[in-house]
Amino acid sequence: MKSRRTLLAATAVCLLLAWLVTYPLLMTLLEALGGPHAWTLAHFAEFVQRSDEWLALWRSLWISIASVALAAAVGVPLAFLFERTEFPGRRFLGAVAALPVALPPLVGVIAFLFLYGESGFVSRAVQSLLQLKEPPWRLAGPGAVLLVHAYSMYVYFYLFTRAALSRLDAALLEAAASLGAGRWRTLFQVTLPLLRPALGSAALLTFMTSLASFSAPYIFGGGFRVMTTQIIASKLNGEQGLAQVEAVMLAVIAILGLAVLRRLDRTADAGGATGVRGIAPARRRLRSVWSRALAGVLGWTMAAILLLPHAVLALISFVPPFTWTNQAIPPVLDGRNWVGLITREHLRPVVNSLWMAAAATVAALVLGLAAARLAAVRRRGFLAGGLEWLIALPWAIPGTVFAVALATTFGVSQPWLGRFVLIGTPWILPLAYLVRNLPLTGRGALAGLRGMDPALEEAAASLGADRWRRLWRVVLPLLRPALAAGAGLAFITALGDLVTSIVLYTYDTRPISVEILSSLRLQDLGLAAVYGVILMTASTAAFLVWGRGESR
């Protein structure tokens, strides 16, 4: 009787999730095949025949692999530096090093533009220093994309490696030393193998993020098209069928990549845990004055480089439009841009982004929790597996694909098929954010529920608490950290979203990110910076309040 009710609820939630998550993807595939009226392989044939499509596919792939390598090369040594050595300012700098994770991708991109673009700060400084006629470099093409990726994604390697290092049992290293292994042999034969699961997870996350990355290739790519920008270009050219095929291909690549990396991860997982959690190894205090000074200088330089994007955004937001031409340093600074934000109708995107992100976060929280709870209660079986799969799937599918899928599915009215016209209404963007945020809230909730001692709920039941009181008084309070972290990340993601918004927005529902792009197009750098600062501040606040460094 009790299980019949959960069965019913699980089925209902499963259907709702399927309608939100898999149905649009399926529709996209069907329409790419011309279905259901005129089945054709013409769009796929066109895709196969065009060399630029294959090129975009290849570029997406190698950019992602290169991003993993670069991010690891930056993140892993930093993690060792901050976790295994002790020097002045270690705590503060260690926290600063995690900051880029809270920066929405688009904000990071425009900050890089203001810094290293043709008329960026650093470029101008170098130009005037060396008395060059031309800017010293152009921030464009694959190099620029990789630079931005390395900056925003090394954090995954940094955080995962640090967490794994802090969990390492010191006794293992002592055992290696007592068996005669030197520092390097211990590193390569003990420490690094033990870090493999963490490195694998970081690589997976970096690869998927990079494959789905849109802002950096969109702004810096120019003619260098990857799959995400190729899809948007096709969409803007009105080639719906081709855009759908491209979306399908990108989704396939993403799922293949996920499968391959998961497989690698699983083989790495063999052995590892000894079951006993020991004491983390002590940090090595740097003895000599010189090495301490060196570590300090290195650390502070790194912090400066990492904080430069934040600082330059804040600075540019005080530069009035068209006052900064060819000077090395902006000649006029005032609050005009900020005042203009309030007086003009420029506040609209801010309000839009805030309510849409908040609504999507609340909905994702409720739906993710419901799905996770039902999956955890039913434990095994078809429905539990289905629920778990459905809340995880949007994580693997790039946002651009979902945008195309939602545009395809909810652009026509076929109520008997579950298709309604939502395009052009204020509901499509919150819906898109909701779908993309499900993994952030749902997987966190599921992990929390799986890790919870079932005896706690049984204790509450034996003390007379019915299911609602158990949920409210026991489960939710215990899940709060996981839910808060998930909600914080979901809110940040939705607030700064560009990938799905650029496909689905209308003038009335335009979010901050879209407004940043149009300000850039109008050369109103000050206004773009103001929006950037708003996004950056809101995201960092959300990250600090809810995230508490629990970045999945």
């Binding site: 009787m1 009790k2 001692d453 005896a455 706690l456 049984e458 204790a459 509450a460 039941a461 034996s462 003390l463 007379g464 608490a465 019915d466 009181r469 008084r473 026991v474 309070p477 215990l478």
Partner: protein
């Protein structure tokens, strides 16, 4: 007076694995029944069926004449103490103890009084505001007991309540637990894998093995008259001697002298009607054996001195049937390597005869 808690023919399997087969038990009002068995015996499953966390595949559960088989746990009014206590980590001691009082519509003062009464009962007065993470394991155990007792449940269920404490603390906590349960006078079912705990706390003890109830009775009955070979070995120390059934409840052991030695015992129910010559096993407690001038020939392989008693491991000669047996004897009775003869202690507990396994 009819029994207060009745289990009738309970079956439970998980998948194809039958964990409980046709379990029937009766617990009288105010009695403490201990469910004793090794891990995997089904004792914890039995407790979870009683609590209502799992539904039985077959059978009924009755409390005070009312059938509760289909009732969800929150409507059974049973108190439970979990193996790892399951205290709510986000609530303090008082909030934990008050959790079960919420449905009562009590005033704030009444709730506070009931909480402090419950804490006084487990000898933790004044612990209301403490966080559950900052008190010791023994104190957590008592808070869990107070929490279970505060709503005045009909039945108290204890799932290995002492297994999480270190041995030095266990005996003291056990005595405190018994005192609290006796003071309340509540009908209690206790699950444990330790014979000493079951004998100390239980008025009666039920022995489970492989999902089957082997015997239920007073501790003295289980020790002196084990119903099955398993009970004989699991409850207390016992050694087994192989032989064949002889006349007058005798067992012929070994082949030395004039065709072996015959020892008398008490046949278990399934041997009572067996034919003479049937292979049987004579199970005898170490304290019922002694070194004697005549008896089974053997050699001492190990002497174990434990202070209160000394145990000798004796390897029996081939002519005495072979095998090993444990003998309790004075500390200076023999040394390792000595050739000895083992006999039955006059006036000791009579050995039990079980069906042999050959």
């Amino acid at each position: 007076m009819p029994p207060f808690l009745i289990l009738e023919g309970l079956d439970k399997s998980f998948g194809t694995q039958a964990v409980l087969r046709d379990l029937s038990l009766e617990v009288n009002a105010g009695e403490v029944l201990a469910l004793l068995g090794p891990s995997g015996s089904g004792k914890t499953t039995a407790l979870r069926l009683i609590a209502g966390f799992e539904p039985p595949d077959r059978g009924r559960i009755l409390v005070g004449g009312e059938e509760v088989t289909a009732l969800p746990p929150e409507r059974r009014h049973f108190g439970m103490v979990f193996q790892h206590y399951a205290l709510f980590p986000h609530l303090n001691v008082a909030e934990n103890v008050a959790f079960g009082l919420a449905g009562r519509k009590l005033s704030r003062d009444e709730t506070a009084r009931k909480v402090s009464d419950a804490l006084a009962l487990v000898e933790l007065p004044g612990f209301e505001k403490r966080r559950v993470g900052e008190i010791s394991g023994g104190q957590q155990q008592r808070v869990a007991l107070a929490r279970a007792l505060a709503p005045e449940p009909r039945v108290l269920l204890l799932d290995e309540p002492l297994s999480n404490l270190d041995p030095t603390l266990r005996e003291r906590t056990r005595r405190e637990l018994l005192r609290a349960v006796r003071r309340v006078g509540i009908t209690t079912v206790l699950v444990t894998h330790e014979q000493e705990e079951a004998f100390h706390l239980g008025n009666r003890v039920a022995v489970l093995h492989g999902g089957v109830l082997h015997q239920v009775g007073l501790p003295e009955e289980l020790y002196a008259q084990p119903a099955t070979r398993f009970v004989a070995g699991f409850v207390g120390r016992a050694g087994g001697l192989r032989g064949t059934l002889a006349a007058d409840s005798g067992v012929r052991i070994g082949s030395g002298g004039d065709g072996g030695i015959v020892w008398r015992g008490v046949p278990a129910p399934d041997v009572a009607a067996a034919a003479l010559g049937t292979p049987v096993e004579l199970v005898v407690r170490p304290e019922s054996l002694t070194f004697a001038p005549s008896g089974l020939e053997g050699r001492v392989t190990e002497r174990r001195y434990s202070g209160a008693a000394t145990y000798y491991q004796v390897e029996l000669a081939r002519s005495a049937g072979g095998g090993e047996i444990e003998v309790q004897a004075p500390a200076d009775a023999a040394a390792e390597g000595d050739a000895v003869r083992v006999g039955l202690l006059p006036g000791g507990l009579p050995p039990r005869i079980f069906r042999g396994t050959t």
